[in-house]
């Protein structure tokens, strides 16, 4: 359904950040994008959701298509309202002074939904994230990090997305909570059939829930494949899953790997 064809993204007319990224999300899939800080993962999501246009960024080459329609020139508003592609921004961004329920409701009204549709969607969010129900009258800025993460994903769901873009949902959360969030992401995908494009640093969990994954490095895709295949990949094992078998490699490869590792972790 979503096809990104060899796009190049430039910020402020001079800073080349994406150097030819291609990726695809098929119906019902969870697709993960892995990569170190600054690799261009967030930029990729923003190119898809149209948010780049607002911040001096532009797709200068290639194309992005949703169900065959070119979307790389559309405004963020059109992409959400007409195509249902919704990006949940990095860092648990919420409307701090609004209550939990207002934060959720606005996800629906901003897409033009009204009335009973909103009530149904609220129930769905409370079904996936039961703690939010008790908190619904609370000012959201005072929620804990985990509750906030539930809230922002919930807000994404309120738009009835046809594709959900999640940017680092595990950022800064305790390991148990991260597992819980990933369990729900998987559940959302399976029960509601919403395809998800997931940006993550936590490669182990991301590969567990994803059907397919891409690894990015300085604006390029350096590896891609079905998750099981990537999980078995030696480089991934070593750099992301921490399964290095020390002392087994010869010096040349070591040096090469060391360099790449530095770049990946850089």
């Amino acid at each position: 359904m979503l096809k990104v064809n060899n796009i190049e993204v430039i910020y402020s007319d001079v800073i080349l950040v994406l150097r030819g990224i291609s990726l695809e999300v098929k119906e019902d899939q969870i697709v993960a994008i892995l990569g170190a800080n600054g690799a261009g993962k967030t930029t990729t999501l923003k190119a898809i959701s149209g948010l780049l246009n607002a911040e001096e960024g532009a797709v200068t080459r290639g194309s992005i298509e949703m169900d065959g329609r070119r979307i790389d020139k559309l405004s963020a508003e059109t992409i959400v309202r007409e195509l249902g592609i919704v990006q949940v921004l990095e860092g648990r961004r919420l409307f701090q002074h609004l209550t939990v329920e207002e934060n959720l409701v606005i996800g629906a009204t901003a897409r033009g939904h009204r009335g009973t549709m909103i009530d149904q969607d609220l129930e769905r969010v409370y079904h996936y994230f039961p703690p939010l129900k008790q908190l619904r009258k609370r000012v959201s800025g005072y929620l804990s990090g985990g509750e906030q993460q539930m809230l922002v994903i919930g807000r994404g769901l309120m738009s009835r997305p046809s594709l959900l873009l999640l940017d680092e949902p595990s950022l800064g959360l305790a390991p148990l909570l991260v597992q819980e969030i990933f369990r729900v992401i998987n559940q959302i995908n399976e029960e509601s059939g919403i395809p998800i494009l997931l940006v993550e640093q936590n490669a182990r969990l991301a590969l567990e829930v994803a059907d397919y994954a891409y690894v990015m490095e300085t604006g390029r895709v350096v590896l891609n494949g079905p998750s099981e295949q990537l999980t078995e990949n030696e480089d991934i094992k070593e750099f992301y899953l921490g399964l290095t078998q020390l002392g087994e490699r010869k010096s040349y490869r070591d040096v090469k790997h060391y360099k790449r590792r530095k770049r990946w972790l850089g």
């Binding site: 959701s49 948010l51 607002a54 911040e55 001096e56 963020a76 508003e77 959400v80 309202r81 919704v86 990006q87 949940v88 921004l89 648990r92 961004r93 919420l94 409307f95 701090q96 002074h97 609004l98 207002e102 409701v105 606005i106 996800g107 009204t109 901003a110 897409r111 033009g112 000012v139 800025g141 005072y142 990090g145 807000r155 738009s159 800064g172």
Partner: protein, 311 residues
């Protein structure tokens, strides 16, 4: 203090203050949604008064196009204000997207000059003392009150009407913000533009809307003032008392603007009851002195949003 003058000052202060509060509200509306401090609010107000005056057919030079009764003239002026609000967003603000906030704020100063120029050209620079009012300006209530000067408090009936209209307008706006769908979008946009955009809110349209509503609020304030004093270019200077009211209330709080307005109205009237002539004559700076004191104690203003800081 001249104690016998105080009861009268309190009543007049509150009534005046409500109108100041309404005017302050317009500035807060724009600030809340876009962080732009609109220095042209006073001029929008003055423009609104002139446009109403014009729709009411008060120019009396034989070429009036409209001859609306006051109510209809005000509605027509609201419509004009609405259009002007959207127009300002489209023509003046949108091209400045991405520019430093300061440039945009300075642009509103330029806008103020532009409005003043246009009003002078279209309506002339002479004050219009024949601004239509529902009742004569001189009509007053007399309320017996033992501690007041000569045992009575006098209240202009027009001022009471202005007070009721201002209060009604403020309640309407607060309800709109708290409970309507669009109000919710406006509050959300005020907090985080990028986030608002990411969920599908048309942020420029929300800006346009907040300017449109601010324009209507300004027009309402302009009409209330013009009923009391007539329409003139100098109406715009009322913002000099509205600005301290805004800062006093806390810049982004709607109830704050209202309370700030009343506090400023009271301060002005109470100072003018002083026995010392030097103090009595300083009622213009009284709001600023009050502002200074409040800001020392509460830098965010009386109702300013505390930044939520956790994580």
């Amino acid at each position: 203090m001249n104690w016998v003058l105080v009861p009268q000052a309190i009543i007049t202060g509150i009534l005046n203050g409500s109108v100041i509060g309404l005017i302050a509200l317009g500035v807060v509306l724009i600030y809340k949604s876009s962080e732009i401090f609109n220095f042209s609010q006073g001029h929008l107000l003055m423009l609104g008064a002139f446009v109403t005056w014009w729709f009411a057919g008060a120019s009396e030079d034989g070429n009036e196009i409209f001859n609306f009764p006051l109510g209809l003239a005000v509605l027509a002026a609201f419509l004009v204000a609405l259009l002007i609000g959207f127009l300002i967003e489209r023509i003046a603000l949108r091209p400045m997207t991405g520019q430093p906030l300061l440039s945009i704020i300075l642009m509103t100063l330029g806008l103020a000059q532009l409005i003043e120029g246009l009003v002078s050209i279209f309506f002339g620079i002479q004050p219009k003392s024949n601004f239509p009012a529902p009742i004569a300006r001189t009509e007053t209530f007399k309320i017996p009150f033992a501690f007041a000067f000569q045992g009575n408090i006098f209240i202009k009936k027009l001022l009471v009407i202005a007070f009721l209209v201002a209060v009604f307008g403020m309640i309407l706006i607060v309800i709109f913000f708290k409970f309507s769908r669009v109000g919710l979008s406006m509050r959300a946009t005020a907090e985080d533009h990028e986030l608002a955009r990411s969920i599908g809110i048309n942020v420029p349209r929300i800006f346009g809307l907040s300017w449109a509503i601010a324009g209507i609020v300004a027009t309402a304030g302009g009409v209330l003032l013009a009923m009391l004093t007539g329409a003139s270019l100098s109406l715009s200077t009322v913002v000099l008392v509205a600005f301290p009211a805004i800062l006093l209330g806390g810049l982004e709080s709607l109830p704050g603007a209202i309370v700030g307005g009343i506090a400023v109205g009271l301060a002005q009237e109470l100072v003018s009851t002083a026995k010392l002539i030097e103090i009595r004559n300083s009622s213009e700076i009284a709001p600023y002195v009050l502002l200074l004191i409040v800001l020392i104690i509460r830098p965010e203003g009386l109702f300013g949003q505390k930044r939520i800081e956790r994580i």
